[in-house]
Symmetry: C2
Subunit: 253 residues, 2 copies
Amino acid sequence: MSSPSSPSRGRPARLDRTRTLQTALDLLNQSGLDALTMRRLADAMGVQAGALYRYFATKQELLTAMAERMMEGAAEAATGASAGYTWQQQLTALARAARNALLTHRDGARVFAGTHATGASVLGFADAFVGVLREAGFPDDDAARTLYSVINFTVGHTLEEQAALQLESGRTEGADTGGGRPEGADTGGGRPEGAVPEGAGALRDAVTTGTYPHLAATLPALTSTDFTALFEFGLDLIVEGLRARRARAAATG
Amino acid sequence: MSSPSSPSRGRPARLDRTRTLQTALDLLNQSGLDALTMRRLADAMGVQAGALYRYFATKQELLTAMAERMMEGAAEAATGASAGYTWQQQLTALARAARNALLTHRDGARVFAGTHATGASVLGFADAFVGVLREAGFPDDDAARTLYSVINFTVGHTLEEQAALQLESGRTEGADTGGGRPEGADTGGGRPEGAVPEGAGALRDAVTTGTYPHLAATLPALTSTDFTALFEFGLDLIVEGLRARRARAAATG
DNA sequence: ACCTGAACACCGTTCAAGT
DNA sequence: ACCTGAACACCGTTCAAGT
């Protein structure tokens, strides 16, 4: 029990797990995951990089703790006032809470996807989610698999959403010093001479350049930036799929 | 047109886009994404690291080309013989082909998720996918959104699947030299003294330690390693959701 | 034209030594 | 007990210089 967390005798200790975690989350929000290095985090805490390893054995362990904290309160936020909600409404609320938790932190989905947090926040959320389905009468297997379906969809979606956010902003660093870059390394697509597009514009360009009739016809929806509507659409598909499965089971059983 | 790809006069050139790409994919399969560095790739090609930058302006561009190549043939693999399939069957085949394409390469999902490939493989796949839905009579918006739902679910799922594979193997490097590691940095959970579990065992441990009634009741399904069944479950949910949406639209319209 | 050599500005992690 | 200093073994990327 004489871990670094417990305040023994001696100097008051500039570091501890909680303060390090909070500073890491702040740094993440300010600068993004790529800029969150152990050295920069140490700097922000006025300490040498090596000192962090007394509280987190590896960077991976720190990231896992961050993922865990991101999910804090997600289950509660979705539970709302109390009862009177259908299982569809409860499931939808939980999924939205998960997406919101990831969106609340810059690169939240990347942090979550890169870790395997199994703390109280994540498991509490999972237990609430599975509980809704079990109490609605779904078989245990279906309940567990639905949890993964919704989580995987949510993480995949938010990964995309946050990647798109990063591209549409943050195009203003290292603003091309004008140094003669070797002319090679082209994609070979015969681009109009300008810069290589990267965001939604890249998709629009590529679609209109090539011959993709169906993509061309759906370009507006394909390049839409209404990620909330996109998330709701997929979520609704899953929930409706569950309802259909339930109706079928009721008819058969 | 005098790009490095076109063989002009001079020495035969040990490098080119295609050979570099192939070697990178081989190295990925052998060693994983974390070991795929520009320096190691250069080593594998018998060249200095800087030489690679004549063919790929950045590592990100190389990774995008890799993602693009992973998806090569996915649309065709799903199209199968010819017609006679329902839109549900065609959609399911396309989604399976996407997962298989990612699974075929080590860390394939991580590579794909970290890039924004908009080449012929990816767009051909997307066009085929959207085409199935449009020809089945779905509105353009629904077709485009369904594409994203399925892709995001598939990427999220395969990310998890490949992460789980990595954990259950590969526990045999840097086999603890016995050096006195500082004793701190514990999670504070009072673990039984052994090593920190990381795979499916970590989840099982955490669930049985805490008080999560619903997770405890569904533990077998929760810790199952049948990822194909898990993928099929989620995919079926989405497809059934689409069918329900279609039936509703037909009744209303 | 294509590649080498060498540098620049970083990384995560370890660990003896100080206080 | 807690942190510093300094190192180890790496990174991605740039670019003058050689051939």
